[in-house]
Subunit: 370 residues, 2 copies
């Protein structure tokens, strides 16, 4: 682990695998478990850095694939890196773009060296290898950069999954050769699709590359929740104790708290901001579809127990009006609220873990409909 | 003038008609000349009340026609009025909807009693009379409500203009009969199209109804600037000294400062926020079309002399990127900036007027391209 990064577990729940920890980075301390808002194109959709500070986001994500295409990593590097470019001085994590190369490009061509793909914007031809993906992330300058992996689909055969798992491990070796900047560290990613022996193989082989953190990828890609919950439980005792474990692409409240109970420390997802822009809000009374006619004259906040700007200032009736007339402030308000909701959820879960109350906490929150 | 409203001129420029004044309302003091951001549907597009406070907006507009259709004035009244509904505690002005009834409805039917029109949203049938428009504005609860007028087009004949002018005066009499709430006052509107004698007639007949302020409508509707500038100059000496004069629908910097030099105290327009969403920013170096390729690696702010959140935190290169990838934060940032630009312009003009430097101030600012 580079000097500028360190992690310590402050408490582990007596009855579950849930941990409270502290990840120190050159851009600030992250209290774990943590939910990380996603700012794919160097902006968390519709929100300003000021608002991200207000919801107490501790770290945000950006995406290597999208930023490589637009505006180009050279521009971001010339700006002084992502932090300066987007005006966010707290920690940033970049996803390598592996997931996007595979999910957004039907015309991709996979080789053992990397992936040839066409831009989803203008069809231009590009190539990502582990080396190139890491160099690109080095230029972007996030604190945590992700290894370039092959995230395979749910439902493929064992032999396909095996090939993909091995490919990810081979690529990881290449990724690890790239020297990053002083303020950066790489998280390797465990894959293995939905075959337990491949998952365990991937975990064993990946561990030596995990210097400051370990990610688990390829879950929450469309499979029933029970599948990843079971696999995570089986992996749990083999996960490293002394570093954060990052579950990629998880953002629904039920999933989050169950993953944390199985020892996960970090999660991210576009879900809270995406459903916000469609008019759906999390709340302690269950999900709220704010355009619903029943909120027409409901002058209470989305969630009376929430301390966000939206709940402190606006009623459901006003928010409903904003969505009805297509005003941007509506999606902004719900984005602020949904992020604050998940961040509060993690803060409260940290307290519950400290008190060894994780099981009760989960029971209570699983009763909230989503 | 109701007790809760008062206006005083603090200084008049020695060499022009420009005035510095102070309008006291039940929701706060407005320093004039003032530019008023427009929040048609109870939201200044893309911005939060927090941001409006940050750009130091003193008063904002909302629109009776739009709010009457959606969400309905009953909802806003049940919320406790517009201030509470939208979370804005400073002064609010509502336009009567006269302008919108005429500009948005091709199927309208005009009678001397009012206007029958079809909703531009769902085609439903509605009727606005002076009485109904005022009652509706009473329910919305803005501090300043506008008389229901007939804003006629540029280019119509003298006899059409005459009819329209008289209609507006007749309607004004009806409007004046409606009792408003304690915290409200009505501004009558001078019309008269582009015929000087009609303008003067309208002004003379309107003056008795002006208790706390007077509006000039029907200008800046597509005619060459010189036309309204000349007419305003001729009207100037006949305008009341002891109340604010509001020029409706003006928001370009050159127009604003020239109107103020002719004794105007209040202006509003959607222009700054509309061009912002299209990627155009005002600046002390002239207009900036931020998507322009030349800003690709320009890491300086939109306007180095601006103190807004956007200029303090983001570069042209970042803003260009946001517009290029269609991210909402781009339009938000430019909206903040353009409003702050006009508000700073008015603040600086107040200083210049105090120092009797209005002429130099105008000269300097007319050199900035727009």
């Amino acid at each position: 682990m580079k000097n500028k990064f360190s992690f310590k577990v402050l408490h582990t729940c007596k009855y579950t695998g849930a941990r409270v920890g502290e990840l120190i980075t050159p851009n600030g301390i992250i209290n774990t478990p943590v939910f990380m808002p996603v700012g794919t194109r160097a902006t968390v959709k519709s929100l300003s850095p000021q608002e991200l500070h207000q919801v107490q986001a501790q770290i945000i994500l950006a995406n290597n694939y999208h930023l490589y295409l637009r505006p180009g990593v050279d521009i971001v590097e010339a700006a002084g890196g992502l932090h300066k470019f987007m005006g966010w001085d707290k920690p940033i994590l970049t996803d390598s773009g592996g997931y996007q190369v595979f999910s957004l490009n039907s015309l991709r061509k996979l080789t053992e060296d990397g992936v040839h793909f066409s831009s989803h914007i203008d069809g231009s031809k590009h190539f990502f290898s582990p080396k190139l993906a890491m160099q690109s992330q080095r230029s972007l300058g996030a604190n945590i950069v992700m290894a370039f992996d092959h995230c395979s689909e749910y439902g493929i055969s064992y032999s396909e999954a095996q090939k993909s798992t091995i490919r990810t491990l081979n690529w990881l070796e290449e990724c690890a050769k790239i020297e990053l900047k002083e303020h950066q560290i790489m998280f390797p990613i465990v894959q293995g699709n939905f075959f337990m022996d491949l998952r365990m193989h991937s975990l064993r082989e990946t561990l030596p590359f995990a210097k400051c953190g370990l990610a688990i990828g390829g879950f929450s890609v469309g499979e029933p929740t029970k599948i990843w919950l079971d696999m995570l439980l089986k992996m749990q005792e083999h996960l490293p104790q002394n570093m954060p474990r990052y579950f990629m692409g998880l953002g629904n409240p039920h999933g989050l708290i169950q993953a944390v109970a199985r020892g996960i420390d970090m999660c991210d997802c576009v879900l809270p901001t995406r459903i916000a822009r469609n008019g759906t809000a999390f709340s302690s009374q269950g999900k709220i579809v704010v355009k619903n006619n029943k909120y027409k004259a409901d002058f209470s906040p989305l969630d009376p127990s929430c301390d966000c700007y939206c709940c402190k200032n606006f009623s459901k009736a006003y928010l409903r009006h904003l969505f009805n007339v297509d005003e941007i402030l509506g999606g902004r308000c719900l984005s602020v609220h949904n992020l604050r909701y998940l961040i509060n959820l993690m803060t409260n879960m940290r307290k519950a873990i400290y008190n060894n109350d994780t099981v009760d906490f989960i029971k209570t929150h699983m009763e909230i409909s989503e």
